[in-house]
């Protein structure tokens, strides 16, 4: 977590959340401490502005819009019903709404199905963007532009060495081999992480509401 406060009473924080509910709860805690959300980036960075401490209810929706008119219609609907959009992140399509907390608990969803569909939209977004990001890479692998044997151990005669000589050379070169072969395993690791995240949100869509 990084923190820096500048003269205009603004603050940036970096946080990562798996659950929309936990992220909302954190923003509500920040409001009670006198910090109002004014901006988010797609990479876990939040910008706050100082305000009078007050109870706010935050709700996050995930939407992608094909045209700007659909987006303005969407935002107008939320504003008309008493929600303000604090921020929308550039790359991630998350919309952060807030409203003063008073009386009955407020929500931007009035049934469980529509709340769960938020996870479905998120899973579809993560899944499709992961696959699109990996299409060029798959093409490179298939076309054989890279040569795996050249990336492994290069010490001449390494496999004929005996005893400590072998161990020393082997251990010395291993970090370099790991770096060279990262061309292969790093994308695979990222692909698995992307698909794992997609599956995680798809499961929360299937399994229903998960309260933190």
């Amino acid at each position: 977590m990084e923190m820096n406060v500048n003269m205009a009473a603004r603050m940036n924080m970096i946080r990562f959340f798996w659950h929309f509910e936990k992220e909302e709860a954190w923003l509500e805690k920040m409001a009670l401490e006198g910090w109002r959300l004014i901006g988010v980036s797609g990479w876990g960075s939040y910008t706050f502005e100082k305000m009078t401490p007050q109870p706010l209810t935050y709700k996050i929706d995930f939407r992608q819009f094909s045209d700007p008119k659909a987006k303005s219609d969407y935002l107008a609907l939320f504003e008309d019903s008493g929600w303000r959009c604090a921020a929308a992140n550039v790359g991630g399509y998350n919309y952060y709404f807030y409203t003063p907390s008073s009386g009955a608990p407020k929500d931007i969803f009035s049934d469980e199905d529509s709340e769960r569909q938020r996870h479905q939209r998120y899973a579809a977004y993560i899944g499709s963007s992961t696959l699109i990001a990996f299409l060029p890479l798959v093409t490179v692998f298939i076309s054989g532009l890279t040569n795996p044997p050249e990336m492994s151990y290069l010490t001449p005669g390494l496999w004929q060495m005996q005893g400590w000589e072998f161990v020393a050379h082997f251990l010395f070169e291993t970090p370099f081999v790991i770096m060279r072969t990262s061309v292969y395993w790093l994308p695979v690791l990222l692909l698995l992480a992307g698909l794992g995240t997609c599956l995680y949100y798809y499961r929360s869509y299937k399994n229903g509401r998960r309260r933190a």
Partner: protein, 111 residues
């Protein structure tokens, strides 16, 4: 087209379609539904937006205009939507008329 695939409708969907016999924008629908249901159905904006999106994709409602500020879209029922709404009404009416003599006689339940 077999219209039965649209039935039965969720309560929220029915109320939305019932209110879209007149052209309305999103918030207008929320207010109209609340009034028609005597306050018992209060649709939240995220839920309404998703429901309108679905109805539009199914061709049951149409985008007819934009408001003066050009921010809000105004919808109303399509011809298909009107047919489906009436079918759902008749379906429920049949259920009610079948049930009435059976259930209304059991006076204890009705007190």
């Amino acid at each position: 087209m077999n219209l039965n695939k649209f039935l039965p409708m969720a309560e929220t969907t029915y109320y939305i379609m019932l209110s879209l016999r007149e052209p309305l924008h999103g918030y207008g629908i929320m207010q109209q539904v609340k009034q028609l249901s005597c306050g018992s159905v209060d649709i939240a904006p995220g839920t309404l937006y998703g429901a309108l999106d679905n109805l539009k994709k199914q061709g049951l409602i149409l985008l007819v205009a934009e408001d003066a500020e050009k921010r809000r879209k105004i919808y109303r029922l399509s011809d298909l939507g009107s047919q489906v709404l009436v079918m759902e009404y008749k379906r429920m009416q049949t259920l009610v008329s079948v049930s009435r003599p059976l259930l209304e006689g059991e006076s204890e339940t009705w007190k």
